[in-house]
Symmetry: C2
Subunit: 393 residues, 2 copies
């Protein structure tokens, strides 16, 4: 489908904020929202009353903390009543679809100042209950009911991919090693320590071939961006970052229904639309954030996004090209693996990192030099929803 | 706030569908979606591939059936991949905010054919767990944690209202009697039997003064509408119904934080905006759907919407004016009380009823004669989100 059928104007990001990601025992759901939203509002130089619409992504406030009605919770706690406040959900792509909805609201000309956020508070339940909550992102009747877990589904993907494309166990581990290296330079990251291939491949087995250190952590966190029309962006900031495209595609919910599990069709569909709308190609992208819920997911994402031919993404890791300073810096904030994966927050957190990179404001040694365009890929479940966002200076 | 800042075009509803509401043991979440969406698509004379965006309201797929990622589930089961499919949530106003988002998508010019739905599958869990899930719509930390339930919160509201405005127990019961009378003529209603004031006031006490028959049931159900630009509506149907306004307002999440609990400020805010945008007043409205989760809620809604002065709505019931044939027919499908309250579906189900009324297609003897304008009020929680939609021929 040709989208947008119509666009009144371009959209700019003029403020960003993120909470520290991690096990935030001291912070409740609403306090995490505050920790991300207030810096974003301050960064944009606006006040709460300037916000005309609030859209927050959240996967499962119900199963994690017994709180639905998350939009109203946030509008109330941030003192924004009676501003409309809506929660959107697409599993781990909840943040991405929130950005998509906020983008539409501004691109359409309907709203001038929209606060888009993502949030999840996951550590208030024991890890078995968190795993059960996360299973709500898959097909509950045809996958979860029969005992599937997310590490299990991605292990199937990894097994098949490694068999088809001869990816080595060590190369797969390089994904985690690189993301921990980047995360060690990100003060907001869940894990800020480095690791090694030896440590990853000898960490406890979770679902063969995936080991503990192939899996992203269960995190608490929130992120927020402020969107305004591009034509008004300079009123708010000297360094507006423009949304060149934001697209969503859907696919079969259950893994067994797909023709090929070594690729995410929704990534291919959404990125094809995004490149067309942005009038850009993979070669134009300087910094990438992809959804590395498991190491194998990052490998597949780079191929589906057109950064490597099928079966060849591993080479980028063997050659060290996905580090800051390489040809294609990937997950410069540590990604989900080290940066943390507060599921509903992730899609927004990725874009916060791209904005920092394009502004030249990334902390410590992880700044990509002179980045002009960035791309984020945010995945729901095992790929039934994918959001692709391209931003540029 | 002046909204919309900009509107490219008007929006029409050209197809509607609803499942039977009730205890649908034989139907899963995805099957309920099918039961509502397929009639809506057929009513619009389109095919699934014509749908460009899917937005479904759902309050708590996670707590009710262990299924989040509800948009993807529906797009998959309805064969709509790779069409973007997004779930939105605002507790019991989830259906209403889905309509709001769909309205924006078409009014903005960004999309030409949008399927908006609402869905909830509530009866797969025991009623105590359903009550717990519903508590996610209130402030989980400051209300639910201390033992509040929704009947409890609305009982507080009813106690205060009855004290302040001398509303009698019998008049309150008239709300339920009228809604059961209307529901008895609606083949999709959860309860299709009539009741009496005597039966309501002698039903078991739930939370004083609210009795069982003051409370809406826990229902399974789904509803769907197809939205297109008004200028293209006649391609699809001879009886387009136009969305004259669709507005959302937020308020404090917890009841104790509000200045006055006998009124919902968000209803006042959202309806004021809606009347202004639609260029209509309460006197222009011929048929009304309000959120009667408890009998007292319907009384308060009519006052907040401007259909009665504060404290006087009871008179409309004493005089029988809210029946079909009266001055102000309210909840002609049986409302939530008899029609059923599948929470995420309700905001859409209300609009399906208004469309039937305005088309002159209401079943059996509940057709309002020559209705030109209808208004729906959909409430999240105890009023932290309210959606008001005005439709016209």
């Amino acid at each position: 489908m040709e989208f947008p059928l119509y666009k009144k104007r371009d959209v700019a990001i003029v403020g960003v904020g993120t909470s520290k990601f991690g096990e935030r025992w001291d912070k409740s759901l609403r306090e995490l929202a505050w920790e991300a939203a207030v810096p974003a509002v301050e960064d944009a130089g606006i006040q709460g009353r300037d916000v005309q619409l609030v859209i927050f992504g959240n996967m499962s406030g119900g199963l994690f903390v017994g709180q639905e009605h998350v939009g109203a919770l946030i509008a109330d706690f941030l003192g924004l009543n009676p501003t409309p406040a809506i929660r959107v959900e697409a599993a781990c792509a909840s943040g991405g679809v929130a950005l998509f909805q906020g983008y539409l609201a501004v691109a359409s000309g309907l709203y001038d100042v929209v606060a888009v956020g993502g949030i999840e508070k996951m550590t208030d339940v024991p890890s078995d209950r968190a795993t059960l909550a996360l299973a709500g992102a898959m097909d509950s009747e045809w996958e979860a009911y029969f005992g599937a877990t997310f590490p299990g589904l991605y292990a199937l993907i990894a097994q098949r991919y490694m068999y088809e494309y001869k990816l080595s166990r060590e190369t797969l581990a390089e994904v985690a090693v690189k993301n921990h290296y980047h995360g060690s330079m990100n003060p907001f990251a869940h894990f800020q320590f480095r690791t090694s291939v030896e440590r990853v491949v000898s960490s406890p087995l979770v679902a063969d071939p995936l080991r503990r250190d192939d899996c992203c952590p269960i995190s608490d966190g929130a992120a927020c961006v402020i969107l305004v029309p591009a034509e008004k962006a300079r009123r708010y900031t000297d360094t507006p970052i423009y949304i060149k495209a934001c697209t969503v595609a859907s696919d079969k919910l259950a893994l067994f229904e797909r023709e090929d599990i070594t690729t995410l069709r929704a990534t291919i569909e959404a990125s094809r639309d995004a490149y067309r709308i942005a009038k850009l190609s993979p070669a134009d992208i300087d910094v990438v954030e992809v959804h590395d819920c498991f190491t194998i997911a990052e490998i597949i994402a780079l191929e589906d996004l057109g950064f490597a031919t099928k079966g060849e993404a591993g080479k980028l890791y063997e050659e060290g090209e996905t580090y800051v300073g390489g040809k294609l810096p990937v997950n410069t904030d540590g990604g989900l693996k080290a940066g943390g994966h507060a599921v509903g927050a992730t899609g927004v957190k990725q874009v916060v990192e791209l904005v920092k990179q394009l502004r030249g404001e990334a902390e410590k040694g992880r700044q990509v030099s002179n980045a002009e365009y960035g791309l984020a890929q945010n995945v729901g479940g095992s790929g039934a929803t994918v959001v692709v966002t391209i931003v540029g200076r």
